[in-house]
Symmetry: C2
Subunit: 346 residues, 2 copies
């Protein structure tokens, strides 16, 4: 070991032959401290690089000013946008964000939550992992609730859980996307859906199906294929779609990544976008505006979600006595670009 012990208030007290209390007060500009004493101590502290041990303070005050952000991944545009939003509101308030990436893994999520509680985190923002969703376990959430640590769901959620949540209206976003394709004149619309069980996947699927139904279009099972949100997971499914006897003339991807993967396959096949195949994604990731053709997509206000989630957290912290949990649903917005803009056909 080569780490020298950090200098403490006691060290300084010894140096000045005074009590730790005096040093503490001097450093905190307490009025009842002699001006000279204060100056000397502050100077010396600076000189030796004294830095308050926040750990001890946390213990004393039972306040850690740290918040947990538990997400399945940080390699998506949306997740990083949410984190940015949380950051924007909470960092200036002195909170530290402890970002935990679960990789869609239940055990890891559980471990992180337990660790956050042990570390006396003051609040947790959670987007549950896919495994958690699949397994249906939620005891690890119970312990958060039991501790009365504010728990805010972001994005994905357990329907039947008593907490605040900030989510995007995936359903209407998907609905609008499909409605747009229909309006343009596409007849056979496929959906590259997300993993089963996740709210986002299911809501978008539902929007897709309901919209087809509204317009009296048949819902063909073979036009709905699973992906895992990643670009490469769209390749095989899209190929399968295009090889169908009656292939789709439009594809609605569960996110931009998947839509971009599909775009590649469609072009490889020699088909034109949007003339032969229309394409819509989801997320409005930065790159979607610069693909060729640019990608029609549904914008999710990630930053805003982060900021709203922060607000929900703060509400709960400031609430006296009983607190009613809030659900915020932000609208998503269709962004029409080239990939779906062929001249409308009846």
């Amino acid at each position: 070991m080569n780490s020298s012990r950090p200098v403490t208030i006691k060290d300084i007290a010894r140096r000045f032959r005074c009590s730790p209390s005096t040093v503490s007060r001097a450093l905190n500009d307490h009025p009842a401290i002699n001006e000279d004493t204060r100056k000397n101590i502050q100077e010396y502290a600076k000189e030796v690089g004294y830095q308050r041990n926040e750990v001890s303070l946390s213990l004393l005050n039972k306040k850690t000013a740290s918040l947990g952000v538990v997400v399945p991944t940080i390699s998506n545009y949306y997740e990083t946008a949410v984190i940015e939003g949380l950051h924007t509101v909470l960092q200036p308030m002195g909170y530290t964000l402890n970002i935990c990436v679960t990789n869609e893994n239940y055990l890891l999520e559980k471990e992180y939550l337990s660790k956050l509680l042990s570390n006396r985190t003051e609040g947790i923002f959670l987007s549950v992992s896919q495994e958690t969703y699949d397994s249906g376990y939620y005891e690890h959430l119970e312990s958060v609730i039991q501790r009365k640590t504010p728990l805010i769901f972001i994005d994905r959620e357990y329907e039947d859980f008593e907490t605040s949540r900030a989510t995007v209206d995936d359903y209407h976003g998907a609905f609008a996307a499909v409605e747009h394709l229909i309006t343009i004149g596409y007849k056979q619309i496929a959906h590259l859906k997300g993993p089963n069980g996740l709210t986002v996947s299911e809501q978008r699927l539902k929007g897709y199906i309901d919209c087809l139904k509204k317009y009296n279009m048949s819902v063909r099972e073979e036009l709905i294929i699973n992906t895992n949100f990643k670009v490469e997971s769209a390749i095989v499914p899209t190929k399968r779609l295009l090889e169908l006897a009656s292939p789709p003339d439009a594809i609605f991807g569960v996110n931009d990544q998947v839509a971009i993967g599909a775009m590649r396959v469609v072009k490889d096949k020699g088909l034109r976008i949007p003339q032969d195949v229309g394409l819509v994604g989801f997320d409005n990731s930065p790159i979607s505006a610069y693909t060729f053709p640019s990608l029609t997509t549904v914008s999710r206000p990630g930053r805003k979600i982060g900021m709203e989630a922060s607000r929900l957290f703060l509400n709960q912290v400031n609430a006296s006595g009983d607190f009613l949990h809030e659900s915020i649903v932000l609208p998503s917005e269709l962004i029409i670009r080239e990939s779906s803009l062929r001249t409308p056909q009846a």
Copy 2:
């Protein structure tokens, strides 16, 4: 306030009319504890949801098992890959990663470092922000050094700083990219460079220039234009390039985002890739394999960097006495795809 006080070891002791020590030992399976006592206490603890207060332990043991990861952004593939690599090695060892995003902001970086030190973080992985780079300030780093907290530079670095570092060989990656373009037969190679001052920008620029020189090709100032790594920042520069009297027949982008932006502009102009304009990016981001045409790029081993950085940290922690700082430079690898593969021309 509605948060009920978490149950402590003292609470349990009171309940069993025994001392806190006994409870502590019982919970930790200390051998000198009566089997019945142990079982009763453990059961009760579970029942009331006791969870060890790690804050107090941190104070007692002077160990926080938390590490700081300070990065300018998490919205790039590379950065998230690095974090994933750190995570892979350090999470299983019980370390918590505290991810701090500086948004390229010097003051924020400074604040984060100071906070991490105050929280007695046991090590810091740092990719300095652009502002820090520009300003040339580094007092905030001095305090880390002074504290003998292990500091590992990832990616960007201060050349003249006494620490360990894990970086990618940007220079040779860029060199290889440009050499490849030259070999294929491109004659006028432009470079969309990164922000001034950053090691990655400068190293790639240097690789580009040195390679041109090696092949006796002129370095045309007007073919080198700045971007900020983001896709949209490539649009105007690329347009300018293509409108030159003697436009480039190939473009080397400082990263994939920029290259993809350029790709869009080139195609909008009606030029073909790779026939009319060759294109190479940097990062091997997932999407680069699926653009149309797919993007030739230089792969940066982000995950590996994270893992190597972890190793450097662990070395330093386990070192007895004086520790010699290490510099690890991992090779980057040229990934040849469609965007540069026209049939070679002399």
